[in-house]
Symmetry: C2
Subunit: 211 residues, 2 copies
DNA sequence: TTGTCAACTGTCAGTCGCTGTCACTAATCT
DNA sequence: AGATTAGTGACAGCGACTGACAGTTGACAA
């Protein structure tokens, strides 16, 4: 008889969002390593223990939003028309995911804050490390989607993995260069991505089924 | 009048090697997270503080040998004949570096232990993360070497970075698959690498200067 | 040989990330 | 309303890591 989630659920969501936002705010202003979990908890006025009930560790807070974006990317990729070559589909999916991000993320955290977070990740060694690991975990899933699209068996045919690995490599380079640059706009990273992928395209875009 | 390094230097080297070996031995047998720095120090009979004077952190001990291999890889790459295409040079350099490894590593740590370490890295999330980060740091240096070989300016021409990124992506996939497999031999990883790179080869091997 | 200096080390105290436990409160179910 | 269960705070404890200080020991000159 109740519309939507109950009071308890809403309260939980509010606490989580408050923690997330406070964490990102602190991380991006005074630095990740320099921010203690105690400070985050204090900013939201909960105990340190509560923070760890919402996030398994300090890092998890950093990547909570990225998580959403990645999930969205895979989702968009699955929806790409079957006639597109793997690389084209991948390319359009990334650009599409960033497009959609603007709308869906804002509810949790300002996009501006998310972009700052991304740059912080790129410039914080320990976070960059986790970012990389997360990437390869996604990579496997993406390779599976590609293999499916092309009707190939991923276990016997290395091409899906190889192509996705190459694609991901390029994605990381662009992310890194963007993070090191000045222009923090969403537009600039989309442009850079497109440009870099275009260089890989001619090399990998030929149809796998004609040879 | 004295041949070689002094007593102090030798003693230092011995302590470091002992720590390194004890650490890897413990890591690979009882697991990385399950091994405390205290245990490592105790195994070598020094204080915990001394361990941290040789290694900035627990992870650094894990990657000490990898560091040598990577340095060797870059070295071999620089020596590859100029007429080879970038991808061929990269390919031969990896295989060559592993070849040379057998000889140069044994002085510090048994090769067998090093291979186990590699597999442990692949199966330990926090270590895999660091491994990834280290990879991209090497990537930049490798891209520089490639750009130099081809007489290109890395700042204006994205191709060196893109090619190296794609190459590195494939390298990581092979390393991951090898780590997950059964065959722990040096030979098996070399074979897997060659095989996987062959799939990227046809796509990226064309000479950059003819078009 | 001896004394001085600098490098290397051990000890101790302390911070921070993270986990387990337990008791208490408040939302949900019956 | 009473029982159940989720969410929380307080506290204790572990392990990685750091800073400060003092003791020891090679290196090197007098």
């Amino acid at each position: 008889m109740n519309s939507g989630p109950g009071l308890r659920e809403r309260k939980k969501q509010r606490t989580r969002n408050a923690l997330l936002r406070a964490a990102l705010e602190l991380f991006t202003t005074k630095g990740y390593e320099e921010t203690t979990v105690d400070e985050i908890a204090e900013a939201v006025d909960v105990s340190q223990r509560t923070f760890f009930r919402y996030f398994a560790n300090k890092q998890e807070a950093v990547f909570a939003v990225q998580e959403m974006v990645e999930a969205r990317f895979v989702e968009v990729l699955r929806e790409r028309p079957a006639h597109e070559t793997p690389l084209v589909a991948l390319r359009e999916a990334v650009l599409g995911a960033w497009e959609a991000m603007g709308q869906s993320i804002e509810e949790v955290v300002p996009v501006e804050l998310h972009m700052s977070t991304y740059q912080m990740i790129e410039s914080t060694p320990s976070l960059l490390a986790v970012h990389m690991r997360r990437s390869i975990e996604t990579e496997d899933e993406v390779a599976r989607v590609i293999a499916e699209r092309e009707g190939l068996d991923m276990e016997t045919d290395p091409r899906p993995r190889v192509a996705v690995a190459a694609f991901s490599g390029v994605m990381r380079v662009t992310g890194r260069l963007w993070g090191a640059g000045e222009d923090t706009s969403l537009e600039s990273i989309r442009e850079l991505t497109g440009q870099y992928l275009d260089h890989l395209g001619p090399a990998l875009a030929q149809d796998w089924h004609t040879r």
